[in-house]
């Protein structure tokens, strides 16, 4: 029923959860410019290093970053592939928002083309 979604549900849970926090999204954004070490990443935030450490763990569990340990420093690196799963999942709904946008466009067009000439009372 409702055409299987095909991606691992547990993985999607972790992934969407990881993305549902502003700090974590900001961390990912930072990593777009290249690998960074934990202390460096943490510098931008008001919260403690420990808090950032925890956020990084959440991202790691979701597969969104990996880390290479070199001596006492941990080098974090973006791993964006899991986002493909999210993309794929979202694409199951693409038709809906584009349909809606189409009808919204129609609505706007109708509304402003002739400014309430005739009352559209639906079906």
């Amino acid at each position: 029923m409702t055409q299987a979604i095909s991606v691992n549900e547990q993985q999607l849970d972790l992934l969407f959860h990881a993305l549902s926090n502003q700090t974590r999204r900001a961390l990912l954004a930072q990593l777009r410019s290249g690998p960074r070490i934990v202390t460096d990443l943490a510098r931008s935030y008001k919260m403690s290093l420990n808090a950032i450490s925890k956020h990084l763990l959440v991202l790691e569990k979701a597969g969104l970053i990996d880390r290479k340990i070199e001596g006492r420093i941990h080098i974090c690196q973006l791993q964006a592939e899991p986002m493909m799963s999210a993309e794929k999942w979202l694409q199951n709904y693409q038709e809906f928002w584009s349909n809606n946008l189409d009808s919204f466009a129609e609505y706007v067009e109708q509304k402003y083309s002739d400014e309430s000439k005739d009352k559209d009372e639906k079906s």
Copy 2:
């Protein structure tokens, strides 16, 4: 720094959070085939109607469904547009995963094209 993301962060929090639960994703999937009333939606799950009611509220707050109340029944309807924000956000990372996929493709090609006959290292 790190090129602003441009979508409302609070909205993304609600949206990704709403999507981070399997039951809620399943509810959305059900709604792809058209509007449904709460009791009907709830029928597919082992959990209580109340639990589903709460899940629907989460989806509603994220803007992913709306409801039309007709007498005692609530007709829920998919509103997929907010997913566009998620899409847009994810697309900031598309280059990363496609780069990775490209190099993976190269790797596969190299590995299986001639099964280590001669090493084509074509920069």
